[in-house]
Symmetry: C2
Subunit: 222 residues, 2 copies
Amino acid sequence: MATTSERVRDPERSRTAILDAAERLFAVQGYDATSLNQVGAAAGVSRGTPGYFFGSKLELYQTVLDRSFAEVREAVRKGRARALASNEDSETILAGAVSDYFDFLAARPNFVRLIEREALSGSRLPEGASLSAGQEALAAISAELGLDDAPSGEAAQLLLSIISLCWFPLIHARTVAPAVGVELENGSLMEQRKRHVVALVLHGLRGSSALTTTSTEPSSHD
Amino acid sequence: MATTSERVRDPERSRTAILDAAERLFAVQGYDATSLNQVGAAAGVSRGTPGYFFGSKLELYQTVLDRSFAEVREAVRKGRARALASNEDSETILAGAVSDYFDFLAARPNFVRLIEREALSGSRLPEGASLSAGQEALAAISAELGLDDAPSGEAAQLLLSIISLCWFPLIHARTVAPAVGVELENGSLMEQRKRHVVALVLHGLRGSSALTTTSTEPSSHD
DNA sequence: AGTAACTTGCTGATCAGCAAGCAAGCTGCA
DNA sequence: TGCAGCTTGCTTGCTGATCAGCAAGTTACT
């Protein structure tokens, strides 16, 4: 109180504020379109402070990415643990997992946009962080489908389809979706979309070789 | 001497060369990261020529987009006409359409990237061009499923799922796909992905209400 | 000779990174 | 206890580079 000068020094708070601001700005505007000036202003510090804490714009960006991946990785781990501890049947677990993943992405537009921009920039994802999350998810779904090794890659293909279906409407809610007659701009319409995705995955699963090994030719297993 | 022919003047050729170069550069690098200098160089003209023909960078970009949409619209129209003229059953037509759409997108990475960047920029698509292509595709699939009016939006939801599944692997072949154990970097791996997508859509269709609840049983259902 | 098809010079704006500066607190020593 | 001197947190001035758009110039074709 007596020491309430204009600025309270708190490097941890500054660091976090800068990371939060940078994550949002990089996600919304992209890397190039975001200036350190903007990041500083949004974080309530000066133009030079992001550089002071993170060295360079690029290092700041990489720190943002790392933090996001860590969060995703943690979420996948927890989701898997919950599924393992559950007593539901495979279909119910899978339906719940798809629904949860849909909601997870919907709640993290910054993450989705950052990855999307990474993809457009042509770069690969940092192998450690992304692979560990992806492989954990793959292990979970493989186990659930009883395809632990899955040399055919069926589980991986299905997982990629689930991600595709959950991911796309978030990115293209204002572009492709309305063009084909699907409105997604409010929550209940997005819920409807989610139900369709869950149903499609379940129906696809029932008819696929993953559980029945009968539908498609087991052509070149050797 | 008389015609040193170092430069042949040909405005039509220059225009097209500039549009081609701009389409590629905008798709690969994005709007902001692409300078008119680069466009001119890639098109074999000087730094000022793109501005001379198109007025401004923004007008050049919009012309690029318009040209791309026109091509897509035409492709959808032809695909629909072909499907209408065919005598195959619904499932076969749908499987072929999904496969063709997958290949169509794979052959047009510039288009996919341009739309993706539009989505990330937050802008909507030009209503005329995108709606006409999307609604035409929707009409085609609705007719095929016997859901001409489809107040439930089932056909639109399915169409959006098809687009999601075909679109996503093209964008995320180097990001999400390898993270979950799906490699897509060569043609045969992409073919495998396509087969999975077609199978998933067909299985999902068989189990969905689209064919089983609303209309009379189609003749093909086993 | 006239006009369309280009090119080149210029201007003001923006940005990242560096370096210098300033201020807030801490540490050690009297 | 007090204060000098140092470290850390943070700001501001500067520099070289890039870019879009415009104006003025130049070349080719009719």
